[in-house]
């Protein structure tokens, strides 16, 4: 078996007395989509926030290309080409699309000043690929629709040559057409060899998009299965009962 692109091994974190993530291990191969499933509060978002540098783990290790890495901040995660699209999109509503896309990684002129013209030009290029209808570059993102805001968040993750992409509920706020667009994008990025962690509540969608799914409950990993080996009902019972029917059988 080849080396995973990314591996999280025996990760734990607790807030006060509550173990939000308890000894969980997941991994993703290049060109693979791994789904994270579970109820609200199962620990999925907390687990990926450790990966994106928003939370610091209490125990466990993270490996990129088989090499152990330390991720203590969002900047660390970015340095390992790990990009995240948050459920809340994490946009500054008062800034325009280009400012959000390059937030924390601005293009600067030779005098060290931010180069808005260059950033807008780059934003137009990437948007032409992701969402050709997007034209509202000079408005604050507050005035954009849910789908347009999502495009900005996705563009931000994709623009900087992500190798590992974390998508937390990327289609939760979207209409049918836009959801299909995100699904196409995921397939395209997968074909480019990215490793993708996908979080969603929609089991059907997960069965379509993912190669493997990992199910969590109460901070613990119930199991990881290849989608072709399980039925949607198997997954649901893992989510609800916290038991893996295949292992029980």
């Amino acid at each position: 078996m080849s080396t995973p692109l990314l591996e999280m091994r025996n990760i734990s974190i607790h807030f006060g007395g509550i173990k939000a993530v308890d000894d969980v291990s997941i991994d993703v191969m290049p060109g693979e989509v791994v789904g994270l499933l579970g109820h609200n509060g199962a620990g999925k978002s907390t687990l990926i926030k450790i990966l994106s540098g928003a939370y610091k783990k209490d125990a466990g290790e993270i490996y990129v290309d088989g090499k152990k890495v330390e991720i203590n901040s969002p900047i660390d995660a970015r340095q390992h080409n790990i990009e995240t699209i948050y459920q809340t999109l994490a946009l500054s509503d008062n800034l325009d699309a280009a400012s959000n896309l390059f937030l924390g990684r601005e293009i600067t002129t030779k005098f060290g000043l931010v180069d808005d013209t260059a950033m807008e030009a780059e934003s137009r290029k990437i948007m032409a690929r992701l969402n050709p209808n997007f034209q509202r570059f000079s408005e604050p993102v507050r005035s954009l629709s849910g789908g347009q805001r999502q495009s900005v968040a996705i563009a931000r993750a994709v623009y900087f040559n992500a190798r590992i992409l974390i998508m937390d509920e990327p289609t939760a706020a979207l209409g049918v057409h836009e959801t299909a667009m995100v699904a196409d994008l995921i397939k395209e990025l997968k074909a480019q060899g990215l490793g993708i962690f996908l979080i969603s509540h929609d089991t059907r969608e997960m069965m379509d998009l993912c190669d493997r799914v990992s199910v969590m409950k109460n901070g613990q990993l119930i199991g990881t299965e290849r989608v072709e080996d399980v039925t949607e009902d198997d997954i649901l019972s893992m989510i609800i009962m916290g038991k893996n029917p295949k292992k029980a059988a």
Binding site: G53, A90, G104, V114, T117, R142
Partner: protein, 421 residues
Amino acid sequence: MSGGLGNLIKTLQIDTRLLGMIGAFIVISLVFHVATGGTFLTPRNLFTLTLQTASVAVMATGMVFVIVTRNIDLSIGSLLGIVGMLMGVIQVQILPDIVGFGSPSIWIITVTIGILLGAAIGAFQGWLIGYLVIPSFIVTLGGLLIWRGGAWWVSKGTTISPLDPNFVMLGGASGTIGVTASWALAIVGSILTVLFLINTRRKHVSHNFAVKPLWAEYALGAILVSAICGITAVMNAYLVPTRILERRFAAEGLEMPEGYTEAYGFPISVLIVLFVTIAMTIVAKKTRFGRYIFAMGGNPDAAELSGINTRMLTVKVFALMGALTAIAAVIASARLGSAGSSLGELDELRVIAAAVIGGTALAGGVGTIYGAILGALIMQALVSGMGMVGVDSPLQNMIVGGVLIIAVWIDIIYRRKTGDA
């Protein structure tokens, strides 16, 4: 906006809020001009008005950053007091013994120490807010009491005067650059403005972005250049009173020639405001620091997740506020020629009012430097005008308070209408 005027404003891409504020300033000026029987809109009064506005205007630019990051700074009036007082002690009681009385290095050393001190105190308050997560309202409310008490303690309640003659030039009518230099400055400013417009257009064209029609660029350039020249003409129209000129000639043992006149030109303090305004606008619009301030104000979590150290950013914003307060302390104490322990009292409220009237939203994320400057000017025009008309000072305060509330209410309606929440 509808019809031809609305389209014109749109084509010129002028901020309607800016127009509204300039309109308000003009209306206030005209009303007082009539009410005072024609003394408000005179070069002399406008010159005085800019002098009186300078110190609040400098601080208001910093307050924009503070409020944009969803904080507040109530300590600046007291900070101005203690920094002004310490600068007074340094230049009057300490430095003359070391570098010699009247040495030109006195004002330089004094101002440098003052700015460092202001920045250090600001940074300390910012650290309490950013790292110890004490609300800025509380930290700076404490600061308001502590630094005012400190100013009293340093001076034992006395007033330090006279201040160093070079230092005093930074604050008022005794420090102006004269007619020729003022015009030279206006010409340089006009050229830079035009170059800036050309450069912006060229950049947009090279990236195939939409640009204004050429006539609109010319119109905008013409408006800006006439504004620069108009203000300069006003400053150059205020003549130095004859008896001050006579005294100056007499001091040099000369006879004043018959019919000799001289105008003031730009006061140094107003040039400081100009410099601070331009510098702070560049910081706000064109630096990462400024970009992060607005990002943090718009969504602190998003800023944090983008790798921005919002705690350190808070420290820097308050340090900058402190440094600007120290500059305001220089202007305020130099204008009076003395440092009293009540210097800057209630300035925090004037500064916050100026920033808010200038369109800075207390919810964070929104605000402009030029708005704060105009806000400061509008406030001062109201106060001076009422003083000239003979409105009692308690009534003045009541009116200013009312205007503040109404201005914010209008702003809320404006934002709702433009969807500019």
